[in-house]
Symmetry: C2
Subunit: 227 residues, 2 copies
């Protein structure tokens, strides 16, 4: 994926044909983006909540609060910009395909996840998502958002509290709870909830935070087809 | 996937044509199995080490030591059959496709995993696998082998010690270290090593073990195609 910034549009220096061509390119790109986002269920709003401090002046959004701007640029949050209480989250709705995709990635083919007949005889009565998939959501928030690029994942503890089922809308929320200035480590509370607010996974992550600001074009989620 | 047992071959009751047809079917199935196993890097030998007790009489392999028999039947290890020191493992060699597949499953698109140019400028000098992928291997050993079907994953802690790179051969080994007879919980030491024996991930898993023996046809790893 190119790291160059998007071409600047200077209408005065372009022929009408060039402008029309550029407009078309932009429309095509926008349609592709919409298509990719909808196919991968990328939420339109991946937000970083500000720590609970006095509200900033209206319409002044700090730079690190809109890391997915219109040119699809993504930025990390270096150690010095991290503060206790700061949080970020990612929400996805679980499909059967998501379960098979995790089985393909992990090779965990336990029938509780992949065989509806078998699952009907279990305490959950239907197939459930692998617990470790929710940990993947946590990993995504760390890797993409908080702290994002340059983070080194040091550790994670996980308690699997409830099953995740097909159709559930699952949100992983990470909140900075501790900073270690000497080592540039941050501890994040990691809570994964379903659409009813039930905690499905709880735990804590330890991350070596980046020290330098990085901004670059976001990478799209790779496309896969299940046989 | 069918749960019925494979058809029994009674040559005396079949015409030569039926036998030839059956033989061909079996060859075709075997070729498919080989293809699927090679494509998904399913190790030919997924083994369960016996606890370090006096060796059993030669050639007498206990039933739970060969859960992947020739008819591809898989069995779990219920709580009462679990003993301290018993272990199981899964080995896989990491490809770039495995990294993209984990990114597709988790939506963690950090460029350290997906962009070789970016990764060249990091301390690891090349793309590395997501740490949480190794946790997926641990999940696979629990779900498929130890204790296998009927297990409920209660918790996992993970320390990510070293990077996993493309071409690394990674083994997740789980060993029973504690049993709780009242709650039917087992604690497993979970160690993930590379081809040099370096520990890349260490931790512990807590699992509610199944109480009943389950044997059934193993489910193949779902096939995926990356765009």
């Amino acid at each position: 994926m190119s790291k160059s910034s998007p071409p600047q549009n200077h209408p005065g220096m372009m022929t009408p044909e060039e402008i029309a061509s550029l407009r078309k390119k932009s429309q095509v790109a926008s349609l592709w983006l919409k298509l990719i986002m909808s196919q991968h269920e990328i939420p339109l709003l991946t937000y970083v909540r500000r720590p609970r401090l006095p509200a900033p002046a209206q319409f002044e959004t700090p730079e690190h609060d809109r890391r997915l701007d219109m040119s699809n640029t993504i930025s990390n949050i270096p150690y010095d910009e991290l503060s206790i209480g700061q949080s970020a989250s990612l929400t996805r709705t679980v499909s059967e395909e998501d379960i098979r995709l995790f089985a393909a990635s992990s090779h965990d083919t336990n029938p509780a996840h992949l065989d509806a007949d078998y699952a009907a005889g279990t305490q959950f009565k239907e197939v459930i998502m692998h617990g470790m998939w929710s940990a993947g959501l946590i990993s995504a928030v760390i890797g993409n958002q908080l702290p994002g690029m340059g983070s080194i994942y040091l550790g994670q503890d996980l308690q699997f509290r409830r099953p995740v089922r097909v159709g559930d809308t699952i949100t992983a929320t990470l909140t900075v709870v501790e900073k270690n200035d000497a080592k540039k480590w941050v501890t994040l509370e990691t809570v994964v909830t379903n659409q009813n607010g039930d905690k499905v996974v709880v735990g804590k992550a330890n991350v070596l935070a980046p020290t330098e600001k990085i901004s670059r074009e976001a990478i799209a989620v790779p496309q896969v087809t299940l046989a």
